[in-house]
């Protein structure tokens, strides 16, 4: 499925080539050299835009395409004489094998790089298929640690991996808790059961909080999408933790927090780690009372960078929600383009080399310096957010914060 984006027509090509050769012939020094138009650089963009993950897949795709259009408008890949990026869109249909088949197609179409595919299980299949052809593959969202631990040299993930969210989540919570005089003694975890993220997180959280004298008194795994949280609400009421740590998807998060409101259970805080709804504007807009004061440790943009603010405006103007899928898809495309720029070539190996040694900092994420180890960007980090005054504020780390955390929740 080819989507032509801003390819120069033959006539324009001839015109500029002729002009360029005239300039070169006259050899006028100091005059700007008019570049010869270069063939477009093909990027494979694979997402589940049908099937169970269709919403998230389309949001990622939107982010990626927005980045691509901006890069082309700004002059394309300058080290390739202004070659424009051309996206080949693939639908993984929420199935790993279909995603892998799309990679085969894209290889034949001559893509220089691939990005995608939102869900971890699809990413596992697409990165593996791309590895067969040596095509570099940037993973946009997939959080599973399995993605970067198979020894595949073509796979890169610019955003954080599973362990980082938990580590930063624990550290941030400890800091917030201490700043409030350590009122927390008992914590309950509520997580979805499809990614294994929750189960692994539960173990790390229990160990990480023990030195603070905090006990994890209940771990509640649930299916997703979960149609009912009343049981969980009842169990939580009985166990009565000070803080609840949810980790699940958007619709789970919404139903869970609304159920807690309906059951009139208000813990000292809702502190999420990848809490789904906890850092989404649509939740804030639609259910403001349930959203108030909810904390999250999640992917977020640097709120002080103008380009991030612009992206949010652009997304909302397009009638879409500005959530993590959008800016992570955007980020993956940007990183791809920056690496091609650095490599100055469409050769798979050169691009892979560029990605592996990248120190790119032209992004608007709150990350440290870029450094790829085994395909994982060590500089990537989540941040702490909180919903305050119907806005999602960054409360940690300090250099990116726009507000101070309110903890515990005022009565």
């Amino acid at each position: 499925m080819t989507k032509d984006i801003k390819t120069k027509t033959r006539r324009e090509f001839m015109k500029t080539a002729a002009a360029g050769s005239v300039v070169a012939a006259t050899g006028i020094a100091g005059f700007p050299h008019i570049a010869k138009a270069a063939a477009p650089v093909k990027i494979g963009v694979i997402h589940p835009v049908t099937g169970w993950a269709q919403y998230s897949g389309s949001q990622c795709r939107f982010g990626a395409m927005t980045a691509l259009e901006e890069i082309n408008a700004a002059g394309g890949i300058k080290s390739l004489n202004g070659a424009k990026l051309e996206a080949l869109l693939g639908d993984a249909q929420s199935k790993p094998e279909v995603g892998a088949a799309e990679v085969d197609k894209m290889n034949e179409a001559g893509v220089s790089s691939i990005m995608g595919a939102y869900a971890s299980n699809i990413c596992l299949a697409t990165t593996q298929a791309a590895a067969k052809y040596g095509i570099p593959h940037v993973v946009d969202v997939g959080v599973s640690d399995k993605i970067v631990s198979r020894g595949l040299t073509n796979t890169f993930r610019f955003k954080p991996g599973f362990g980082t969210y938990t580590k930063v989540g624990i550290e941030t919570f400890i800091a917030i808790n201490r700043a409030a005089g350590s009122p927390t003694k008992r914590i309950a975890l509520v997580h979805e059961n499809t990614t294994g993220f929750g189960a692994g997180m539960a173990k790390l959280v229990t160990e990480g909080l023990k030195p603070e004298g905090i006990e994890v008194v209940e771990v509640l795994a649930h299916p997703t999408p979960n149609k009912d949280f009343r049981n969980i609400a009842l169990k939580l009421k009985e166990v009565d933790p000070d803080v609840i740590i949810p980790s699940h998807y958007y619709s789970d998060g919404v139903l869970f927090l609304r159920t807690l409101m309906r059951q009139k259970f208000r813990p000292k805080a809702i502190y999420s780690i990848l809490g789904g709804a906890s850092s989404q504007y649509r939740f804030v807009k639609e259910f403001p009372e349930a959203a108030k004061y909810v904390l999250d440790c999640t992917d977020w943009v640097d709120p002080k960078k103008q380009s991030a603010i612009d992206l949010r405006k652009k997304t909302e103007a397009a009638g879409k929600h500005f959530n993590y899928e959008v800016f992570l898809g955007y980020l993956a495309m940007q990183f791809t383009a920056a690496s091609i720029e650095q490599a100055g070539s469409t050769d798979h190996e050169k691009i892979t080399e560029a990605m592996a040694t990248s120190t790119w900092d032209g992004h608007h994420m709150p990350y440290g310096p870029t450094k790829m180890v085994n395909g994982q960007n060590q500089g990537a980090q989540p941040v702490g957010t909180q919903i305050l005054n119907n806005e999602i504020e960054v409360i940690s780390p300090k250099e990116f914060a726009t507000a101070k955390a309110v903890f515990p929740r005022p009565s």
Partner: protein, 338 residues
Amino acid sequence: MSTRSLFIIWGLLLLSFILMPLFITSNRWIGFLEMTFFVAVMGQSWNILGGYGGQYSFGHALFFGTAAYIQAIMQQKFGWSPWIAMWFAVAGTVLVASFVGYLSFRYGLKGSYFALITLAFAEAFHVLARSLDSITEGGRGIQLLLNQDPDKAISAFQFNFAGPFLSSYGFYYTILIAMVLVFAVTWLVEHSRFGAQLVAVRENEEAAEALGINTFRTKMGAILLSAAITSFAGIYYVQKYLFVEPGIAYGLSKSVEALFAPIIGGLGTVIGPLLGSFFIHGVGEITKDFIGHYVGDRPGVDLILFGVILLLVLAHMPRGLAGLLSDVWKRVAGGRNA
């Protein structure tokens, strides 16, 4: 159609599949054929129980998933060779099938009731796979170690990083061999006494019973054979994609894939599942490219078209594509004789 002309057609088909890599070097189209053969194998297994036996299962994912999990667990947790693990995968799946079959047939479940109980069992195993963390790693799924050493490709039964021939065609020939075996078995069944008994049970179970056929044994035979064949598909999937998780293994989509191909292609015929699979995947490819070209980025359109085509096939081709082809052949052959 005479048996001789039938054999000639099958022979030509087989020859063209074996020689396909000479004509098609595109990985994408080899992959297309792999997918088509894979669904044909699953469809044929469903066909034995549903097409020939008349017992429509809506939970064939149960067999696919069980085989896939056993294959994955044996390799990942016990470090066994995939060539040994596969026998356990087949055996384990047949065991599960005997359990489900015994209950269903001993209690006389037929028609929609049988369909629903297979659905229920598939869903029950789905929940178990997700919840029994210690055995199946729950939602995380089981990821097999990727073999990147070409010398070990065959012993590891992985062809992603193998010699030049195996990398491109290893899985193609694997699924082709599986398909040939499975289709041969089906042909033998169709021409055996067991097959005749199976069809008799499908047409009228009481009459078959009255004729002295042990309908319970016949149906059990069908479900066990069906499960054994489906397990090949599960084993193949694990070796090719190296990953299994509850949704992939026991989700509804595999059950639906298994039944669509034989129904469209022609129930109770050997070639039906292959025709159906080609049709489904061919239409899928065309609608994806065609739609992608004209509509651009609007997901869902290709599936709408697919659904409509499906309904049209159901409306106008009651005996599936095989029935259509056989009608066409009769007319052509009859016309010649006239």
